[in-house]
């Protein structure tokens, strides 16, 4: 990988949102069969900035807004795939995709298999997950486990801007339907992103932080929370390895088992509901294939079996806090550390950072 620097030799840093926009821009430039559609794709806000300017660059035939018809529009995207197109669809809230489950599951996911491999469906659906500022029961749902259970779908969940760009280019290049989950709280995260076009393999996890005592498997915003906790615990003698799965399906089982072989302890943080969730799948996989590697029980954190509440007083008990992560790590390692004394909050922010102002 070529490392991009500016004239002063500094590494180029851009946001997660800009990385997504850049990935789409570069793929569209490279491949004329790609097009973008979504509610608001051409509006002044451009889906939180991720589609800004694309219509001007590629024209209204390749970048367009759509009727509020999620199901038919997904079928239309599938129909265009069998004629050789490569659509990129975006939903400003993943919750809206429930309207399209018929076309995603009954058609997109199985078109390749059910006709004996005659036509593939290279469709990428961007599913944006909201959180905080009262997103509530129907503007905050992450259906990663629901999609991951469907044969024929791939489910990607990038954490860093670097990952967002490389995994999105790969998802669009992939000849299968890919559900590309983006977390709204990550949009202003900044990291080094090369200017050049690049891809990252789907199904490969990434060690966000090396450690020796315990493996914390997480994704997206929870992976970043885990890194923050790891930084605070390191000086107190607890070394956490944070493994960002990047791809829910295919799941990088080798990376998970490889890390546990080193640390012998496992905490899984789910970005969605714990019950019947991705963390359940990971725990079951480790129990079946890596039981002997473990020196303590597996523990899982994530959302309780409850719809997302709207009031900030309720949502702070709903989401996983830094203190929750610290306490779970200590419980597994049988260590006594007081989270609040380490500067780890048990208060779950209603917004990700100072820059974040309502109403969104």
């Amino acid at each position: 990988m070529q490392v991009s620097t500016d004239t002063s030799g500094k590494l180029r840093q851009i946001t997660y949102a800009d990385a997504i926009r850049e990935a789409i821009d570069q793929v569209m430039h490279k491949d004329p069969s790609t097009y973008v559609m979504g509610l608001g794709a051409t509006d002044p806000k451009g889906v939180f900035g991720t589609t800004i300017g694309l219509e001007g660059e590629y024209g209204p035939r390749r970048v367009f807004d759509m009727p509020v018809s999620e199901n038919a529009m997904t079928g239309i995207a599938v129909g265009s795939c069998i004629k050789g197109m490569r659509p990129i669809m975006v939903h400003q809230r993943a919750d809206f995709m429930l309207m399209a489950m018929d076309q995603i599951i009954n058609n997109a996911a199985k078109w390749y298999y059910m006709y004996g491999g005659q036509k593939s469906v290279p469709l990428t659906i961007r599913a944006i997950v909201g959180r905080g500022w009262g997103q509530g029961p129907q503007h905050s749902q992450n259906f990663q486990a629901v999609f991951a259970q469907i044969p024929g779908l791939k489910v990607i969940a990038p954490t860093t801007p670097y990952g967002a760009k490389g995994l999105l280019t790969s998802s669009i290049e992939d000849n299968n339907p890919v559900i590309f989950i983006e977390h709204r709280w990550l949009y202003n995260q900044v990291s080094h992103v090369p200017q050049e076009y690049y891809t990252l393999p789907l199904g490969k996890a990434n060690i966000l932080r090396k450690g020796t005592d315990i493996t914390v498997v997480a994704s997206m915003e929870m992976a970043l929370e885990a890194v923050h906790v790891a930084e605070k615990l390191e000086p107190n003698g607890v070394s956490i390895e944070v493994l960002d799965i990047c791809s829910v399906k295919p799941l990088d089982e080798d990376a998970i088992l490889g890390s546990i072989a080193k640390t012998h302890h496992l905490l899984i943080i789910d970005s969605s509901w714990v019950a019947f969730g991705v963390s359940s799948e990971i725990a079951a996989m480790v129990a079946e294939k890596g039981f002997d590697l473990l020196k303590a029980k597996i523990k899982r954190l994530g959302l309780p079996d409850v719809p997302t509440p709207t009031s900030p007083s309720l949502s702070k008990s709903y989401y996983t806090s830094e203190a929750d992560i610290c306490n779970a790590v200590c419980e597994i390692l049988k260590t006594n550390l007081e989270a609040t004394e380490l500067g780890l909050s048990d208060f779950v922010n209603d917004v990700p950072d100072e820059y974040f102002k309502g109403p969104f």
Binding site: P67, A72, I76, G79, M85, N107, M114, G116, Q118, K119
Partner: protein, 310 residues
């Protein structure tokens, strides 16, 4: 039309042997819609269909061997044994597929029409569906987008008055006409006698002319009637969801017999010619069934192959 009728009747007979191990929705009684529409199409025009797809597939020129092998679950079936009767496909004749969820292929066909337009191709995307599909949200969503973008799509509604056992009277207001729903959404549309193959053919020709001249999508509502049970080879008028009298009235309007009489009356064909054709078709389908039965099944080691494209 005669070929579809005889193929279906023979398959109904063979079905009793329990060797075609998939649900089969026979189209006996509805053949004129398939044939009238597909005869008017060019090779490059594409067709998609739903669970009752045999007639559409054969009328578009789909391989009979591929279809029968698929019904028997064989690896050389048109969908390699992965689909069965409700998932016929023959890309060589632009029969792009059929699916078993009501209205499921309507948006897919609109997507095909959308791509044709994006690529400046002249071909028309045709989709067959039943009256039940017009109760699905997908129908309205798809017509809306097709009209919004002026897409080259021909919607063909085979209105046979029943969704499984549920009559249209418990599903739609009696004052409503399906073709008028399409018209209210801005499409050109027409209702025709779906048992009159010439009427279907002529209506399709004018619909295609309209689409080709840039008027956007078109909907044909063709009234017709399914003779046998919703799924399977048996007659089921005795179970009580429709009357024998209603069925016999529609038998009077048999699209195949009616057209045969017309051909004889107009001396377009002789009794001998039709008799010979009948014998040839019978031999063809029986040979194909014998052939399909002898074909190998997919190997169990192939189960998980082809879930993902490389």
């Amino acid at each position: 039309m005669l070929r579809i009728r005889i193929v279906e009747e023979e398959l109904m007979r063979y079905y009793a042997e329990q060797e075609m191990r998939c649900p089969v929705h026979f189209c006996v009684g509805q053949e004129a819609v398939s044939v009238g529409v597909c005869q008017a199409l060019a090779h490059d025009d594409s067709v998609m269909s739903s669970h009752r797809c045999h007639g559409h597939y054969l009328a578009k020129g789909g391989s009979l061997k591929g279809m029968v092998a698929e019904l028997y679950g064989k690896s050389s079936g048109c969908a390699s044994g992965r689909g069965g009767s409700m998932h016929l496909i023959d890309l060589s004749v632009n029969f792009l597929g059929a699916t078993s969820i009501v209205a499921g292929t309507i948006p897919i066909a609109v997507g095909v029409g959308f791509s044709n337009k994006l690529k400046d191709e002249q071909s028309v995307s045709v989709v067959f569906f039943g009256d039940g599909a017009t109760e699905e949200g997908l129908f309205y969503e798809s017509l809306n987008f097709a009209e919004l973008h002026n897409l080259p799509v021909l919607f063909v509604c085979e209105h046979n008055f029943y969704s499984v056992y549920s009559p249209i009277s418990v599903r739609q207001p009696s004052s409503r006409d399906i073709y008028k729903v399409a018209a209210s959404m801005g499409l050109d549309s027409i209702r025709i006698d779906g048992n009159d193959v010439e009427a279907v053919y002529l209506a399709t020709q004018s619909a295609l002319e309209s689409v080709h001249s840039g008027n956007g999508p078109y909907l044909i509502e063709a009234t017709t009637y399914r003779w046998v049970e919703h799924c399977g080879p048996n007659y089921d008028n005795h179970i009580g969801y429709r009357s024998e009298e209603e069925y016999l009235n529609w038998r009077e309007k048999d699209p195949v017999a009616t057209f045969e009489e017309k051909l004889l009356k107009d001396t377009c064909a002789s009794k001998e010619f039709i008799g010979t054709a009948r014998q040839q078709i019978l031999k063809e389908i029986r040979d194909v069934v014998d052939y399909a039965k002898r074909l190998p099944f997919p190997d169990s080691s192939e189960l998980a192959k082809g879930v993902y494209a490389s």
